[in-house]
């Protein structure tokens, strides 16, 4: 049995500890907001936080996770987190598939650097968006930093 704390809730899961956290979230826990895109930590669709650290969950064996996991579903009870609100205000998503990961990456960035520069954003936001919403993501992050979300 693997013990896992996700969004403040404790789970005991009967799963091979080598299974990536991503697939445990999606398959054992049914939390499908976190997405599979590449499986090799390249695209960031699977981004979650572990003890506040931005983490690509597709390559993280669940058995190695001892910290608290935060997923998109746990970010706010009503989509009201300032980053979510900024995403809505700036109409960021297109297909939307990457956006859970983008939002989790942006939250981590803003937690670490409340006033990120463009270079900070370039460095931290390496998640792939095939629809090409990068410009709006940048604007939305700046709007949160400026308290205008």
């Amino acid at each position: 049995m693997v013990k896992l704390d996700v969004n403040g809730r404790a789970h005991e899961i009967d799963v091979d500890p080598d299974t990536p956290l991503l697939w445990v979230l999606r398959e054992q826990l049914g939390m499908t907001g976190t997405k599979y895109g590449c499986g090799v930590a390249q695209c960031g669709a699977c981004t979650v936080h572990v003890d506040g650290q931005v983490t690509r969950s597709c390559q993280l064996p669940v058995g190695s996770v001892s910290g608290k996991v935060l997923t998109i579903e746990g970010l706010s009870p009503d989509s009201s987190h300032p980053v979510q609100a900024a995403w809505l205000a700036h109409q960021v998503p297109q297909c939307g598939y990457c956006q859970s990961g983008q939002i989790m990456a942006a939250v981590a960035l803003l937690n670490e650097k409340p006033q990120p520069t463009n270079d900070d954003i370039n460095e931290a936001m390496t998640n792939i968006c095939r629809c090409g919403t990068y410009q709006r993501i940048r604007v939305a992050i700046h709007s949160v930093a400026g308290g205008k979300a």
Binding site: T32, C38, I72, P93, Y97, R130
Partner: protein, 728 residues
């Protein structure tokens, strides 16, 4: 074949994979009825009353607008709803949407028209009949109110979700009228609003699908969960055209969670397990032998040589011709020649291909993201052997489409698996590696351009020879026109080409096919055709010693819409004013998917060759703009998709298989690559053009021309990762 017909052919041809339908736009219009057995189709409209076929209204005024096309990020769900809602006189705050199930469309003689979502035609090819649907419903609501009040319908007005009678001040909400209105005959040919009367069309309204895309609640096909569902991982023969020769199922059957190891058609094998991770883990351990077949001989070097031969071949299909280009070129004093090329490209939708299917007796149900619900229904029925009327297709949001999800291969695979495991839903998910190696790639082409300049530096003759693979020859050879694939001439046919004033013109295509499957990749053939023409025009301007903008302006004198959008981009970019030190500009234009686009790029390139794209000004004239904010989003996104192809993306072939396997070897544009993108909306009205693709065509040439301005180097082969931009 006249210009208009050719263009219609093209607009239809670029759409995507068709199994059921191949109707010209005019044919579609006629086929679309405004009546059909109008029972609510999905839980979203349960409890409501259909008023006509496009609108369901509930007692609480919730207004469900039915959408036949697919939402893959391009905003068509919201745009189509705006078109219907405006004519309906809806209260936008009450508007929601539901997909028309493909089987309902099929059972009702395709009353909801074309489901295909490709070729940037979701809105422009259905605008008239969906507006008609909204107008018919409003008329029915007005008639119902008039009957209740005993007044003439002409005295009643449906507006903002209610019918009012001005003389008496009476008012009834649509939710109060729907039940009576739904019983009335559906009127035909209701007058539509003039553009000046639009209140919802043309407004930058927020999308209807954003909230669930910010909290993880949006459900894509990959997220589908069903009772008793099994998960499947699949491996298809890595060599194109190869077959499955055998596999050693017992080697993995004892692995955790594994339930079945099964063939999928004649070229793939799947492991079916309790979870996808278990299935994938077992599949990687499964010994498989392939019959690679003759496709194993194919490789990038051989393909390049085959295409190069086509550049000078004596036989080629003509797409655009005037005067005597070969004759003038043969005698010209001053000629310029250049050869360009563009590689195969995978769509790389971020959601890999997947489909869930369940066979239950003689019934089949699938859960899938598709750009063509009609074709998915047909393909699922065909693969299962079940009659069409016993198949259900549940459409989901697409985690990207870009043309890839117009194909039905992944749906067929899921159905073939489900047939072998009756009674259990099976969700088939491709790994990224599987997705990368089994695409319908953007076709590889090369292009040789030759021009004659007269003494004044004007282009007297131009020959554009494209050599390369044909999409239709692979996907639908029966739709070739006497062996010619007219879609290869996107942007170059008379109706789209801006430079028809060139007195001697020849644009032709030598079809040189390969063993690699090809398909419709966002922007399709405009992508490379615009690079070829717009970079070469830039070369000619330089040889003639003319400013690239002025040179184009003179050549576009007979193409006022091309010229206007070019001017709009140039003006916003400040062309003619000096750019900041170290910054260089490039410009280009294109016409495609019914819209006119132009772009100016500003770049810097260090001596060592490090490129920075600093600013893009992208202008577009799509005729009418349904939602300015969403059109802007599509311009931004199109530029970025085109930028991936410009900078990084390339699929190569060795041993008959694609070399690249994931986003480490197939890089795409990311945040750090993204410049400031300024969108200039320059709509003239008067026509409905597409917006999901047109801007892609101008992304690469604008940047390439700016790179020339910065470095003096002409980069003629994409992507730029292979080019050396260092300069003195």
């Amino acid at each position: 074949m006249g210009v208009v017909n050719r263009r219609r052919f093209l607009a239809t041809a670029v759409g995507g994979g068709f199994t059921l339908a191949w109707a010209l736009p005019g044919g579609v219009m006629e086929a679309v009825a405004q009546t059909a057995p109008g029972t609510p189709l999905t839980p979203a409209s349960a409890g409501g009353t259909p008023v006509g076929i496009w609108v369901v209204i509930k007692p609480d005024d919730t207004t469900v607008i039915r959408i036949a096309r697919s939402e893959m990020g391009q905003g068509t769900l919201t745009g189509l709803a705006q078109l219907v809602a405006d004519e309906l006189g809806a209260d936008w705050k009450k508007v929601t949407t539901e997909y028309v199930p493909p089987e309902a469309n099929q059972a009702n003689k395709r009353a909801w028209g074309e489901m295909l979502t490709g070729g940037s035609q979701g809105i422009r090819q259905s605008v008239d009949y969906v507006r008609q649907g909204g107008a018919a419903a409003r008329t029915m609501l007005e008639q119902a109110a008039a009957a209740q009040w005993g007044v003439a319908p002409s005295e009643c007005r449906g507006h903002e979700g209610a019918v009012t009678h001005a003389a008496s001040g009476k008012r009834l909400r649509y939710g109060q009228l729907a039940e009576a209105a739904g019983k009335l005959p559906v009127p035909r040919d209701v007058a539509l609003k003039a553009p000046g009367d639009w209140t919802i069309i043309g407004k930058p309204l927020p999308r209807l699908d954003t909230v669930e895309k910010t909290n993880g609640a949006a459900v894509y096909a990959i997220d589908v969960a069903l009772p008793g569902m099994l998960l499947a991982a699949v491996a298809q023969c890595p060599v194109f055209g190869g077959k499955l020769a055998g596999f050693d199922a017992p080697a993995v059957q004892g692995m955790p969670g594994v339930r079945h190891v099964l063939p999928v058609g004649d070229n793939a094998v799947a492991v079916v397990a309790d979870t996808w991770w278990q299935a994938k883990t077992a599949l990687e351990k499964l010994p498989v032998t392939w019959d690679e077949g003759p496709g194993a001989q194919e490789n990038s070097k051989a393909i390049a040589a085959r295409l190069a031969e086509g550049l000078d071949a004596t036989t080629a299909a003509v797409g655009n011709q005037a005067g005597d280009a070969p004759g003038v070129l043969a005698k010209a004093k001053r000629t310029v020649t250049a050869t360009y090329g563009a590689p195969f490209l995978n769509h790389a939708t971020l959601e890999p291909m997947n489909c869930t299917a369940k066979m239950d007796g003689d019934r089949l149900e699938v859960w899938v993201g598709t750009q063509n619900g009609d074709a998915t229904l047909a393909a699922a029925a065909e693969a299962s052997g079940v009659p069409l009327d016993r198949v259900r297709v549940n459409k989901y949001l697409l985690g990207g489409g870009f043309g890839r999800r117009g194909q039905q291969d992944y749906t067929r695979q899921a159905v073939l698996l489900a047939k072998q495991i009756p009674g259990r839903p099976v969700k088939l998910i491709w790994s990224r590696e599987e997705d990368m190696q089994h695409g319908y790639y953007r076709p590889i082409t090369q292009c040789k351009l030759t021009a004659a300049l007269d003494d004044a530096g004007n282009v007297d003759a131009l020959h554009v020879r494209i050599s390369g693979q044909s999409i239709l020859a692979y996907l639908a050879p029966n739709r070739l026109n006497n062996g010619v694939d007219m879609a290869q001439f996107q942007g170059l046919i008379p109706a789209e080409f801006g430079y028809n004033a060139i007195p001697n013109l020849l644009i032709d295509h030598a079809m040189r096919n390969t063993a690699v499957p090809v398909g419709f990749w966002r922007g399709v053939n405009h992508n490379q055709n615009a690079v070829y023409v717009e970079c070469f025009i830039d070369e000619l301007a330089a040889v003639a010693g003319r400013d690239p903008l002025e040179f184009r302006r003179a050549m576009l004198a007979k193409s006022p819409k091309h010229l206007a959008v070019l001017n709009a981009a140039a003006e916003r970019a400040g062309w003619g004013t000096p750019p900041p030190s170290g910054v260089f500009r490039g410009i280009c234009q294109n016409c495609g998917f019914g819209s006119f686009t132009a772009a100016v790029a500003e770049v810097s390139v260090s001596k060592a060759g490090d490129l920075k794209i600093l600013r893009i000004v992208a202008a577009t004239n799509p005729g009418y703009v349904v939602n300015p904010d969403q059109v802007t989003a599509q311009v931004e996104g199109s530029f970025t998709y085109g930028m991936s192809a410009l900078l990084y993306s390339e699929n190569t072939v060795e041993g008959g298989r694609v070399v690249e396997s994931n986003f480490d070897s197939y890089q795409v544009a990311r945040m750090a690559d993204t410049p400031k993108i300024e969108t200039v909306l320059a709509p003239t009205g008067g026509f409905w053009g597409g917006v999901g693709e047109p801007t892609i065509a101008v992304a690469a040439p604008a940047v390439l021309n700016a790179i020339y301005a910065a470095t003096g180097k002409r980069i003629r082969t994409l992507p730029l990762k292979n080019a050396d931009l260092s300069h003195a």
